[in-house]
């Protein structure tokens, strides 16, 4: 603790507070925060109040941004939030765009796509802020953010370590794999066995139920949600909430072309996928047609 603690400031723009609440679920929340001086946070007690925050005069080393942005028209206490964001972004050594809204624009962007966007990105496009701030920005998309993804980044920053990022400034350790990685339904995917409707632990949701796991970047099935589960584990399709394109439409249905999924697993050529599929589908494997557990009634 000889090193001076970094000053952490959490700033909300157009948001649902989901990232704030997701992070509050972190079982080691206060150990993580103990590495920082908490300057401002939307719900936790902090040394400064909102008036001080709005004055723009607070110090800030690490700026966490939550929510999507519009250049003007979104105010707090009479202050344009985007101006405030730029003010603190200027001071910050590191900026974390926490969640899909602040990274790419997310759901709230759809209300007014021309004026609402993420901080450095508008979907996949770069925004005006990109040039100025991208070099110190780390993207942590997810709707909401995963508490442990954020804690990983915070700990790395507090230890002065460099985080390898991809072209959209996402940490490779978190987004280098897909949501499909580690899914408990992987065997069913390998053998192309669809889950029959909803509510079954057997079967894969990629073919009918809209699961975007195989082409969505994120470690939801490596670092589980609430330390216990994930959407795909409980039979809910992955909605692709970490992606710049989130949200697409008809999220519980797989878009298919003559029965063939319209979107391929990430980086897999259609010909390669279809060759493997045709073969895997040819085998009726008894174990995958059966229930895993039978309970006596």
């Amino acid at each position: 603790m000889s090193q001076k603690r970094l000053k952490l400031l959490w700033l909300q723009s157009i948001t649902c507070n989901g990232n704030t609440h997701s992070f509050l679920n972190h079982p080691d929340l206060f150990s993580i925060l103990s590495h920082f001086e908490l300057i401002y946070h939307p719900v936790l007690e902090t040394s400064y109040d909102i008036q001080a925050l709005l004055s723009g005069r607070l110090d800030c080393d690490v700026l966490i941004l939550e929510g999507s942005f519009r250049q003007e028209g979104f105010k707090k206490g009479g202050i344009e939030v985007f101006e405030l964001v730029k003010n603190y972004a200027e001071k910050a050594k590191h900026i974390i765009s926490a969640g899909t809204c602040s990274t790419f624009g997310g759901i709230f962007k759809q209300y007014d796509p021309d004026s609402i966007s993420g901080f450095c990105f508008n979907g996949e496009e770069r925004t005006e802020s990109y040039e100025k701030y991208a070099s110190k920005t780390i993207s942590l998309p997810g709707c909401p953010i995963h508490p442990k993804w954020l804690s990983y980044v915070l700990m790395m920053l507090s230890h002065g370590k460099k985080i390898p990022l991809d072209e959209l400034h996402r940490p490779q350790e978190l987004y280098g794999i897909t949501v499909h990685t580690g899914c408990v339904r992987n065997e069913y995917f390998e053998w192309k066995v669809d889950t029959k409707g909803f509510g079954l632990k057997e079967g894969c949701s990629f073919y009918e139920n809209g699961c975007q796991g195989p082409y969505t970047r994120g470690s939801c099935n490596k670092i589980l949600w609430n330390d216990t589960s994930s959407k795909t584990v409980v039979g809910t399709p992955c909605f692709g909430c970490t992606e710049p394109s989130f949200p697409k439409t008809a999220l519980y249905t797989t878009k298919t072309n003559m029965g063939i999924p319209a979107t391929m697993p990430l980086g897999v050529p259609r010909r390669a996928y279809l060759t493997a599929t045709g073969i895997a589908k040819s085998f009726k494997i008894k174990r995958f047609e059966e229930r895993i557990i039978t309970y006596d009634s």
């Binding site: 989901g18 609440h21 509050l24 679920n25 707090k76 909803f198 057997e202 039979g235």
Partner: protein, 430 residues
């Protein structure tokens, strides 16, 4: 004299404009920030997409939005002639996960709003990190929720016909352990006495048996004479009919039926939030309303002495935690795992319909209405609980929270009375 106060560290922020006259609050206007347009975002989407989009109204009561959305869909498909019957298993799991969210919310409010704000207001600081307790408790209970729903916040596991999960006994036992852990926390930290003793308390004269942080809050409220502030219309309403909560309205000492068709939304000047009335009158929603309609003995007893004052309102919300914990444990014990989780095998293809779904969210009744034309959402309407409680005064009567604050001599105190309603600005301004 107008005094402006920006209320922070709620869900988002709210601005209160107090009109003071002779040193007391004469009226107060409540305004919220930015309208996010969730209803407009939904227009033109697949009806099922409401299950993903509407939870993003709110980071703290997202699950209630999911439940209201799925009920609206089911109601709509049924009105179009489909037959949907949920298994007890699916019903119980939905009830369980919703109960977990309410519990999570109430404990965060208790430890992150009520305790610290009350200590600050009365300058009686314990020096404790209350948020640590809130975080421990909420991460425990939301873990139980996530066992079934996959994650919290923002699950999408409730679908027409049931739920997507297919739990095993490993899941159920784990969830039960987490509920037990939450009960233990409530016993040791909140009530300071065993759960069964706590639940036996049914009158004000027995409240002294309570220890722990709840006792401290009651003591602080009592000693500061704040207990009896915050009275409002003393009218309560509940729409979400489920196993635990009953729909109805409570006025004076009478509980009677309600019909959702009398609910009306109206625009308000100067804020993006809409107010809501029932037969043109304001009603309070939330834990106090639910306890009044369900005639919960200890809350009724408090109400008899203190009416709908601050202490009754605060107590009702904490008390609901105990009731919900007991209830969720029973739900788990009653789960029959070999029943189907979901009774619909395929997406329903009804093209035109209207559906209404109601759920009891942490802050009160939440109503979703979906209108589907040619297979796509044509119109989506969301009425959130805080719209009931935080509507501004109309020509004929004062708003619920506004009335509770009127008469206070101090904006700080009025701000606390306001927070006792468990304010959520993000919900209010979807």
């Amino acid at each position: 004299m107008i005094v402006k106060k920006l209320i922070e560290k709620i869900e988002g922020e709210a601005e209160l404009d107090f009109t003071f006259d002779k040193g007391k609050v004469e009226d107060v206007r409540i305004s919220f920030g930015f309208y996010r347009g969730i209803e407009e975002i939904l227009a033109g989407k697949d009806p099922y997409d409401a299950l993903v989009i509407t939870p993003r109204v709110c980071g703290i009561c997202n699950h209630a939005h999911l439940i209201a959305a799925v009920r609206a869909l089911e109601n709509g498909y049924e009105s179009a002639g489909a037959k949907i019957s949920l298994t007890d298993k699916a019903k119980n799991i939905r009830e369980f996960t919703l109960a977990c969210e309410l519990i999570q919310n109430h404990m965060k409010w208790f430890y992150m709003t009520i305790l610290p704000q009350l200590e600050k207001l009365l300058d009686d600081r314990s020096g404790e990190n209350h948020a640590l307790k809130a975080s421990y408790f909420s991460s425990t209970i939301t873990k139980a929720l996530a066992i079934f729903a996959g994650q919290w916040p923002h699950s999408g596991y409730a679908v027409p016909g049931g739920v997507t999960c297919d739990p095993t006994y490993i899941d159920v036992m784990q969830a039960e352990n987490l509920i037990d852990e939450s009960i233990r926390f409530f016993e040791q930290m909140v009530a300071g006495i065993p759960m069964h003793k706590y639940l036996n308390i049914d009158s004000v004269s027995e409240l002294h048996k309570i220890n722990g942080d709840l006792a401290r809050v009651l003591r602080l409220l009592g000693a500061s004479r704040m207990a009896e502030t915050g009275k409002s219309h003393d009218r309560f309403i509940v729409f979400g009919d489920c196993i635990l909560f009953k729909a109805g309205k409570s006025m004076a000492t009478t509980v009677s039926n309600v019909d959702i068709q009398y609910v009306e939304e109206m625009l308000q000047a100067g804020t993006t939030a809409k107010a809501v009335t029932y037969k043109n009158r304001f009603f309070e929603v939330g834990p106090l309303a639910r306890a009044m309609v369900a005639k919960e003995p200890i809350v009724k007893s408090l109400h008899k002495r203190y009416k709908d004052s601050l202490i009754t309102r605060v107590f009702a919300r904490v008390h609901e935690v105990a009731i919900l914990l007991e209830y969720s444990k029973k739900l788990l014990q009653n789960l029959v795992l070999n029943e189907p989780s979901c009774t619909l095998q395929n997406h329903l293809k009804a093209v035109d319909f209207e559906g209404v779904g109601v759920a009891e969210a942490a802050r009160g009744s939440l109503i979703h209405k979906t209108t589907v034309k040619e297979g796509l959402i044509a119109k989506y309407e969301i009425i959130v609980p805080t719209q009931w409680n935080l509507g501004n005064s109309s020509n004929t009567e004062q708003g619920v929270a506004a009335k509770a604050m009127i008469g206070s001599s101090d904006p700080e105190e009025a701000g606390f009375i306001f927070r006792a309603f468990d304010i959520c600005s993000v919900c209010t301004t979807q």
